[in-house]
């Protein structure tokens, strides 16, 4: 059961991580590319972390929940990274919101 769950999360996680990166390559401009990593990749990594959680909790050495921490951390920081990158791109294109507005 645990193994099935682990495998499921592994497959989901791997797939989403890949999709996020495909988006990074495939989408035509930077702002569109931003969507891939901020969502798909974070969830993808989250999936793999959860799989890890299941895996190491099932070894009879007690629960292993600390992977949650990494996931939480990523969810906290990824939007900030995306925000900064977007701002940077806007700035480099000379399209700051403050300057326009």
């Amino acid at each position: 059961m645990v193994e099935i769950l682990t495998s499921l999360f592994l497959v989901i996680g791997g797939a989403f991580a890949l999709i996020g990166s495909i988006g990074l390559v495939r989408l035509p401009d930077l702002f569109m590319r931003l969507h891939g990593p901020t969502k798909a990749t974070t969830v993808g990594v989250g999936g793999i972390l959860i799989a890890s959680m299941f895996h190491f909790s099932s070894r009879g050495q007690g629960l292993s929940l600390h992977e949650l921490l990494v996931t939480l951390f990523l969810f906290t920081t990824a939007p900030v990274s995306a925000y900064l990158i977007a701002r940077t791109a806007l700035h480099l294109k000379g399209k700051d919101v403050n300057r326009r507005g």
């Binding site: 495939r26 035509p28 401009d29 969507h35 798909a40 929940l65």
Partner: protein, 162 residues
């Protein structure tokens, strides 16, 4: 009380973080984590973000559940958009007028926007009244703004009462 426990919620979070880090609930770590959860906020008390008072913890919980659901949904949507034909996408920047006044609430809103389907917060005006959002595939700009306001901004406003 306030002097020794300036931010109870933060301390609680840190205590949980410690238990997660240690990956155990052994008594020694419960104790040590407690000490650290009390001590570190004191040490970094001046660094703390200006956290607003949370008036409605239940609403916060509900908000988080909604957000989690949206994140999962967002991924499916974005996956479809990424794998689908790119020329069908209609990307655009839209400006979201903000009603929030608390800084932390704004931050939470930008986070929510960035984590949910097809939108990324891209720029916040210096007067903190407008948020520039990039949308991957926009069909109904006004509807999107209304959805964000209803689904995230309103609850945040209620939670932090600002």
């Amino acid at each position: 009380m306030r002097r020794w426990l300036p931010q109870p919620l933060l301390s609680l979070c840190l205590w949980l973080v410690w238990l997660l880090l240690a990956n155990t609930v052994a008594f020694g770590h419960l104790l040590l984590g407690g000490l650290l959860a009390l001590g570190l906020p004191l040490l970094t008390v001046r660094f703390r973000p200006e956290l607003p008072r949370i008036r409605h913890a239940f609403k916060l919980l509900r908000y988080l559940m909604v957000l989690l659901f949206d994140i999962i949904a967002a991924n499916l949507v974005v996956a479809r958009l990424i794998l689908g034909p790119a020329y069908q996408l209609h990307p655009a920047f839209i400006r979201l007028p903000l009603d929030l006044s608390n800084e932390f609430a704004i931050v939470m809103l930008t986070h929510a926007i960035s984590l949910t389907p097809g939108t990324v917060s891209a720029d916040l005006s210096s007067d903190r009244r407008t948020l520039l959002i990039h949308v991957l595939d926009v069909e109904d700009e006004a509807g999107l703004i209304a959805r964000i306001k209803h689904r995230y901004e309103q609850p945040l406003k209620e939670i932090f009462e600002c």
